[in-house]
């Protein structure tokens, strides 16, 4: 009897929590944001709840609104290495940029994370959207979207070849004969492309997962095309079931058209839950957070997402829709479209829009009882909108604890979510196969 299809649940870790004012909340332990033990404790709790993976965002530039919020960045690969050392099962997904790294270096970092964690590494592949990053790397300007994606595709090809460059059987380690490695099974990749020339091979053996899991989060046209080719898990932002269903159907169709099995791409929308024992209590909790919002910060966020500077406007007045540059560059971005959707459906004041976005920067924020949260998860999961969710607690650690303690048991009772891990690797948790090296058998063909 085949097992019922299972949810994938990731825990998206943000210092302090996802609500933009989380660090000001009385329940947030602000003194521990740089303390690895704080994150290690969170990871252990998530592992006790059989969560699939921890996920850290990243970008190689300082946020320009650090005055108002704890928006600095711990470096996620090192951070997850230290978390992997005190956990045994939970996946470890780090974000890293294809625009501001070299493929040989990044291939090594993720291969190492996969080795040291026993096969739990995942790479959230980003092209870096913040233009200011270019100024930390000597570029005259930030490459435009299409250029970044072009480089990204070649980058992923190079990294994949490097991860494959040692066949699984390359290490012989025969002490008696003195043969350490079978060099016929170690392959210089000899990559020559538009952006990269990389001879290879990698300087370490193939990893437990063969290749760390490929994760992606772009929802633009370029992003979807990229995801359909390469991604094994997709993080995405939707405000409505309908929007998520359309995205889900599109991604699965694109992958199928490329000959991929649709179940090998997990679509995981973001979900930020405010949990209360009654609907009113949950809503009151969300309100408590929104009262801590600093409009200077929120308006800056809105400027980034819409291109419109609303400082000076009456926060309780209408959003000036006529300023939206629907046909401009920013108008093509998925987050811009998401805001247009909110304006269309809800016609909010500026303050109402700010509050709508404060919880998850455009991700789905849901205030409700544990049953209500579980119902929504089940509805999306069973109606072609999601293979699981990227859980974004409004604050830490309490916001995660409430989900783990009150929602996870309901999902288990409904047989939607595991009660124990069935494997040890992130590929195991996601139900993804371990890929063969693309070079496997080359030495036999060469000598045939």
């Amino acid at each position: 009897m085949s097992q019922r299809r299972q949810l994938s649940l990731n825990f998206f870790v943000y210092p302090g929590g996802h609500h933009e004012a989380a660090w000001r909340y009385k329940g947030t332990d602000i003194s521990r944001l740089n303390d690895i033990a704080y994150y290690q404790d969170l990871a252990k709790r998530a592992e006790a709840a059989t969560i699939d993976s921890l996920f850290f965002a990243d970008g190689p530039v300082l946020a320009d609104n650090i005055r108002y919020a704890a928006r600095y960045r711990v470096e996620p690969i090192t951070w997850l290495a230290a978390i992997g050392a005190v956990t045994s099962h939970i996946g470890l997904i780090a974000t890293a940029s294809t625009t501001y790294n070299e493929p040989y270096n990044l291939a090594r970092l993720f291969a190492s994370l996969d080795h040291l964690s026993g096969g739990r590494a995942g790479w959230n592949i980003v092209t870096t959207s913040q233009a200011a990053a270019s100024q930390n790397f000597g570029l005259a300007e930030h490459p435009v979207h299409a250029e970044r994606y072009e480089r990204s595709r070649e980058f992923v090809e190079v990294v994949t070849k490097l991860w494959d460059s040692w066949e699984d059987e390359a290490v012989v380690a025969d002490q008696a004969s003195g043969l350490f490695a079978d060099t016929a099974r170690i392959h210089p990749i000899e990559h020559v492309g538009k952006h990269f020339r990389v001879k290879g091979a990698l300087n370490a053996p193939r990893t437990p997962q063969g290749r760390p899991v490929y994760v992606q989060a772009g929802s633009s046209e370029d992003g979807r095309s990229f995801a359909a080719h390469y991604a094994e898990a997709i993080f995405t932002a939707h405000q409505t079931l309908g929007s998520a269903q359309a995205f889900y159907a599109d991604i699965k169709a694109r992958a199928s058209a490329l000959g991929r099995r649709p179940e090998h791409i997990k679509v995981l929308p973001g979900l930020s839950p405010f949990i209360g024992s009654t609907e009113a209590e949950a809503k009151a909790l969300e309100d408590e957070f929104n009262e801590l919002i600093q409009p200077e910060y929120s308006l800056h966020q809105l400027l980034r997402m819409t291109g419109i500077d609303l400082s000076g406007y009456d926060l309780d007045g209408p959003f000036p829709r006529h300023l939206l540059d629907i046909d401009g560059t920013i108008g093509a971005a998925s987050r811009f479209q998401l805001i247009v959707g909110i304006l269309d459906r809800e016609n909010p004041t500026i303050r109402q829009l700010i509050n709508r976005l404060a919880g998850g920067r455009g991700h789905f924020v849901l205030a409700g009882t544990p049953e209500r949260i579980a119902d929504e998860i089940q509805q999306w999961f069973e109606n072609g909108a999601a293979d699981g969710f990227n859980i974004m607690p409004p604050w830490l650690t309490g916001g995660f604890d409430a989900f783990a303690d009150e929602v996870v048991p309901l999902l288990r009772r409904r047989s939607l979510f595991r009660t124990e891990y069935r494997g040890r690797t992130l590929r195991d948790h996601y139900g993804l196969p371990r890929p063969d090296s693309r070079f496997a058998g080359d030495h036999l063909r060469a000598s045939a």
Copy 2:
């Protein structure tokens, strides 16, 4: 009463051990070379012996003699992050290249290692000597020595500014007022140089040590000049007390001339000890390793260090000195000079030279009783040749255990080495001050 000057002892970790045939030795657990727990166990043993620091070498290219030896590379920064998670005091020194990284990325990785370890990070700054590395990074050719050092100096300046870019007091985190960071204390570095343009600031707060410890290992003229300016610990290779004394005096004089305090640069020669309960037993142990040598591998190493291909020569015949290109590029390298010194003093056969180099690639190999090893350490330490040593066990784990169990107690009994850690950071262990941010007070000056 001031404490007696204390030795610094690092543990230089090489997969399997430092002798080139270590992986073939019956006491080496070859199956665990990729197992983080193996290195974590070693780190715990070293910490129990109050060793100052673990040190990992690195290079972004596969060794071309992997057929014969376990010469692959674990990525050291991630590896040390996972080791830091299960230790509390021992320093964590990773090697990283200034030729094949971007300063913003590397500044982040080491800052993160320093944060997550509570102030135990050190950076062994290298320019990468293996020419083949260039082919993994799209370069037409490997930059020559002087160019690499020029870039390296600017690289270190940029990284230092980034580590200083958040003053220690920059994070305010006042939940009531909503002020997270005092942006007057976060400084864009605005670096514009020949090799780099980096605006900054770093995207994370200043680290426990302010700056991770600067380590360096070059002994060429460029290397010494660099070390005198920047290094706080120097790894170096010497075969004789006299050679080490000359190097020590030169480095300390150069540092003094630059206005630095000589005790703030630790000179740490490499030492690979074969330990036996009698001199004969120790020598027999060394012989046992040398019998496992594969000449194909050794001759390749010799080719790298001397530029001479000796395959086809009678191993028991004399070394063909007339082939040495004393005036050539390679003749300027410190390792070349070291081999010339051995030839001058010992006039060895090719096989004898191979055996001399197999233990430590030119570092000092000493076979003897624990007393003999301790005497040599004390002699160098008390006669202007060393502030401590970089211990390079011939094999692991037994080669380290013998040193920790038999030599360390002697050094303690002689009051040369600590019996417990007196601080928690690597700077504490080395007796180095915690540097102020170079930007400290700038906001006061600006408003004055």
